[in-house]
Point group: C2
């Protein structure tokens, strides 16, 4: 093999020029190795025929990694012009494996291989010049323009792996063996697998943004979990172990497949793992497709499957053994990794695993690399997890690559951990977190675990419902035009009024029309129990998620279709401690259950002009308050037929010939049972619609004290 | 007759207590006289049978004037509680004579006459107490609470007259003669009418708000006009003169009737004036209905008609004589009034006219009261004008009576001038301006004029289209949240940029997407010619009206259905002088005529994200600029499918995998022909939706200089 393939650099230190030299080497070695991979293609036609229908032909990937550097360097301000706008437009966007039933109908007039090679050479000169000539300081941080250099190189390394998968899926006629890409030649019968006890313990995942090693956005932030004790298979599931499932008719038996798996299986007409090649001339009837050749089936190598096949195997295994067999969660994988005490690939020695191209250009037997009592905790093939990828607390998109991970937070992309023989640089690190659609193939297999602990997946999806996001930002987001946060201001106003005029009780408060719940949390700084009620279940869910997980995530429209990504946390608002005193309920303010009574304070902010029967609410509200309790009303009195029939408006019209305002209506309706003790006073609020467009409104606040 | 019926008081002076005594007398005399009018009713049933279907029965009017005092006193803060909420709700709102085909379907459970009389007595005590005990200072002004006292009394006097009309329309069985309401007993053959030359001259109408005599809102402000010389009939048209039209079959001949008149005539089955009673026993076959009796037709008294009948007579008269006969405009009536040099009714002597109840409870012969060469320039009966009522420049609604006149600014209510025998107080003043639907009857007739000068009616209607009003306010109205006026700021920014970077020319500027035109006027401070173009003809009309009349009027939503009334004037914005340099055109920015070229500056503020083909506009715009000219763009880039198909957006999406903003798109589209010389910079704007709700947006401004 080659000299050792360079590791992802430490981005700290004192010697900028030495680091520059290291980065230059890291870049050229990576760019070279990527080009070397394409030497596996046997002819020009191999660049243009698609290995699989769902992705571009390899000519795209040949150009793409070079263009990626140019695009990110432009965004980072490292360069100021393109090399070739036509090619760069063509090579900008890959076809995501979004679904196996999305067919790519685009027609491309691809350039010749020679043109792309010439383009790559020009790009190499530009990238080399940037690395050589751009001033930078150490450490290189997430926000530094030079971060884009690492981003480009690590992106190359991802495509080194994913292009190798496409080459492995290409017809044999289009590939040829190559001395630099030689597979392992060891194989034998599969070892018997067995279960290893993994003790329970706490895992703490995530990285600090100041950590001086390049990472992708999804690695940052913080996640903590208690993992119960479980058992894990000592080895990755080998081709031999998996054969029992195939031979048992597992592919034909829908009992072992979930709905998604069964649909994929029907579509793909799958009856065995994708890299298995049925061959009557082979000793056992099976060969295995490697990068550039088919070999007699190495039964002791790890089987490669998608997540759906892995799950089906686990269900079959459960049925066979009577044990609760399943894939590990991400937390369990990390617990197991910690349990065996593995570090990352050393800079100055070969990996103690089939990882980082340090050994072969293929898998190897599952009993070659022992890690504690287990084998292949990292390396050989990636390991599917039960966990769909999700953002850690504190997740943020990178400013020049906001769609690296965020589109995969959809609960349809599952995590793979541990890396494969061709996972290098960032990919080889145990903190890296890659995820693919569950039907997709990589150099990936699995280890199973045995545990009764149910899987609970973290919420991954960004809230994208425009109205819900808008209110989440209204309640937990940034101030605009210098206007203070409205729910917070209203809660404070209510608390102040309660201290001046209230009944002295601090037992129960009601936040009626609580929307996404901010004022409820704020009231719980003072009140022992706060009930938040809203008509919209979608709104309530935001409050519940905030209370349960301490965080919410949502996108906001910026301009046209462009969005920004936001995470808001109770702890950074000083409200973590309040969460336990808040309860959210879906409910109708005009028809509220009797149990919602006995309050010392009721806040109804921006509620009454959205009720279908505001008078019914106002007539009933006194009975829900303890004597001397306060009702705090706030409303811009924006009466609209869409929400409140004209006949139900309580003001905002001519009555007996004279202007009759909503405040007049409130006085008439509430006067018997309440005394107006404060207001009216105007409190402003701002709701953000896009980056530039806002609603800016004044809500009229009145405070009413229930008569004894 | 009685002692002289008191005149509307002068509200200035030094002796508050003497003024209080005068007001007390003015009130009681008015309240008494109103009650005396109802003594004409012969029985209780007369109070409950409707004299005409379009109005309430008289019981309503009996209570209404008392309730009006109470309502206005409450609003003015002169009292703090009602006398009888049930009755006051019932007596609050009359049925407006909005249309002869609006039928009143309301059902009322009217109180007894005795109950209403008791209520009036209670109200009298309250009103008396207010006048006696409320401190006030002299002069009493429009904004003083005490103004409501005058408002109540003058309102009573209006109903004194309008109730007298209803009584005159009641069946004879329901009325009886009364010594206090005796008609004139003089009559004879009609005098021959003739024409009097009235020299041309300027009229200056309107009053100052500081004028110390009570007035209704429509009298205030300012209107000036040059009136061409014309001829006026010496006498009001008498019953005798009108008879020729009736006898000639004028009612049956549609040639003499306009569309509105013909429709009314069909509906009403009218074949003669409404107070004429065909009676075979009468000497000439006709009697005339007075308040409480029918008398042999007094041919020398003024005929009473609605405006539609008066117009039909004029058309017939034109046809008969070959002269251009028509009703006078309000300006012509005032010119005529000024020409004869009449004052108002003196405080200390009887009116020199059949006015103010100083002579009879009916009309009198048209040749009794000479005013210069004419007769009955005021008094006897009201005189219909060709002019629909409209607000003078500087018109404002009164804060406690915002719907006195404003609902009649609809071009369907025509002015009557001069007063009748029962017009007293404010009604008797020559500055008073009452208006009724053209089909409605009062004690009203007409004088005709002969002139070739065409009638041009002032624009009266308030703009009520929500979007147009919103933009009128956005352009010409009040600042909100301290944000400077946006079109003004944009024009100034464009002018400043032009001075720094422009081509030095100040000949022609284009305001594209000018909406209601403010920036066009602002640019015309500097540019010799400014063209304002907008896709919306409704918007353009506001700019045109502003340029032509110097003022616009519109309503704005306040809360629910409540609106406020606004007038905005070019002169108070310092733009009167600009108007002559501005031209407005309806046009499509994506498909603009070639004549719109040769500009030194083009401003396109908040335009591009509302175009259906923004790229087409941007591609063509350079050719419309002189070399070195500037294009100033401002937009919040709020792309919406509703206005611009997704495929036409020029930014705000991912392009080749990267965020592509509208600014990126502008640079790509404009880069060849323009240099970006300023910006981007954010300029805020606020659009008011209701009293409390606003849009608050940032528009991104860029300034582009056309390459030579």
């Amino acid at each position: 093999m080659h000299t050792r393939f360079p590791r992802t650099p430490v981005l700290a230190g004192n010697d900028v020029e030495a680091k520059r030299a290291e980065l230059l080497h890291y870049f050229h070695a990576t760019f070279d190795r990527y080009e070397s991979l394409f030497e596996l293609l046997s002819c020009d036609e191999a660049y243009y025929r698609k290995p699989i229908t769902l992705r571009h032909p390899l000519i795209f990937y040949f150009g793409h990694t070079a263009t990626f550097f140019i695009n990110k360097f432009l965004l980072a301000g490292l360069i100021d012009k393109r090399i070739d706008p036509r090619l760069e437009s063509m090579f900008a966007v890959g076809v995501d494996e979004m679904s196996w039933d999305d067919l790519d109908d685009a027609r491309y007039d691809w350039p010749t291989v020679a043109e792309v090679r010439a383009y790559r050479n020009k790009a190499r000169v530009v990238i080399d010049g940037v690395i050589r000539n751009t001033p930078f300081a150490l450490p290189i941080g997430w926000n530094d323009p030079f971060w884009a250099v690492l981003m480009g190189i690590e992106h190359d390394r991802i495509h080194l792996e994913t292009s190798s998968v496409l080459i492995r899926q290409h017809a044999l006629a289009y590939v040829r063996p190559h001395p630099d890409w030689q597979p392992c030649r060891d194989s034998g019968p599969a070892p018997a697998n067995s279960l290893v006890d993994i003790p329970g313990g706490r895992v703490l995942l995530g990285r600090a943004f100041t950590d001086p090693v390049y990472g992708w956005d999804n690695e940052y932030g913080r996640h903590q979990a208690e993992v119960s004790a479980f058992q894990a298979s000592r080895h990755l599931v080998s081709n031999g172990e998996f054969r029992a499932f195939v031979d048992a008719g597992g592919y034909a038996d829908d009992r072992y497949w979930d709905e998604e798996g069964a649909a994929w299986k029907r579509f793909a007409q799958a009856s065995h793992p994708t890299f298995w090649v049925p061959d009557a001339t082979a000793p056992d009837g099976w060969k295995l497709r490697l990068l550039a050749e088919e070999v007699p089936m190495p039964w002791d190598w790890p089987v490669e499957t998608n997540c759906l096949e892995a799950r089906a195997f686990c269900r079959w295994k459960s049925a066979e053994t009577g044990l609760p067999v399943r894939l590990p969660t991400e937390d369990e994988w990390n617990r197991l990794h910690e349990h065996v005490g593995l570090g990352d690939v050393p800079h100055d020695a070969p990996a103690a695993a089939n990882l980082h191209l340090d050994h072969w250009a293929s898998s190897c037997p599952v009993n070659r690399f022992a890690h504690g009592e287990l084998f292949d905790v990292v390396g050989n093939v990636w390991q599917w997890c039960e966990t769909p990828t999700y953002p850690f607390d504190g997740f943020a998109v990178h400013p020049i690559y906001d769609d690296f991970t965020s589109p995969t937070f959809d609960e349809r992309h599952n995590l793979i951990k541990g890396g494969s023989w061709i996972s290098t640089g960032n990919e080889s690190r145990h903190v890296s977190r890659y995820a693919f659609r569950r039907h997709f193939f990589q150099h990936a297999g699995f280890r199973y675990v045995v545990t009764h602990t149910p899987v609970t997946n973290p919420v991954s999806a960004y809230e994208t419902d425009a109205m819900v996001s808008q209110y989440a930002e209204f309640h937990y987001g940034d101030a605009a035009f210098g206007v203070p946060n409205f729910p917070q201001a209203m809660a404070q106003l209510a608390i102040d009024a309660h201290r001046r005029h209230g009944n002295g009780g601090e037992a129960r408060a009601l936040d009626l029309g609580c929307a996404t719940g901010r004022a409820s949390f704020e009231l719980a700084r003072v009140f022992a129990k706060v009930i938040g009620i809203d008509f919209s279940a979608r709104f309530i869910q935001v409050g519940i998620r905030m209370a349960e997980t301490g965080a919410i995530r949502y996108t906001l429209p910026e301009e046209g279709e462009l969005v920004s990504y936001h995470e808001r946390r109770l702890d950074s608002l000083g409200l973590a401690e309040s969460a336990g005193r808040v309860e959210f309920w879906q409910g109708d303010a005009c028809n509220l259950k009797d149990i919602f009574s006995g309050f010392d304070l009721i806040l109804a902010a921006n509620l009454i002009d959205r009720l279908y029967a505001p008078r019914r609410f106002l007539d009933a509200v006194a009975a829900r308050l303890n004597p001397g309790g306060l009702l705090v009303l706030a409303s811009p009195y924006t009466w609209l037929e869409e929400f409140t029939k004209r006949s139900e408006w309580i003001g905002g019209f001519k009555k007996d010939g004279e202007s009759y305002t909503t405040l007049d209506g409130l006085k008439d309706i509430l006067g018997d049972r309440f005394t107006l003790v404060e207001g009216p006073v105007a409190v402003p609020f701002v709701i953000r619609e896009t980056r530039r467009k806002h609603q800016h409104t004044l809500s009229e606040v009145t405070v009413w004290k229930r008569k004894p």
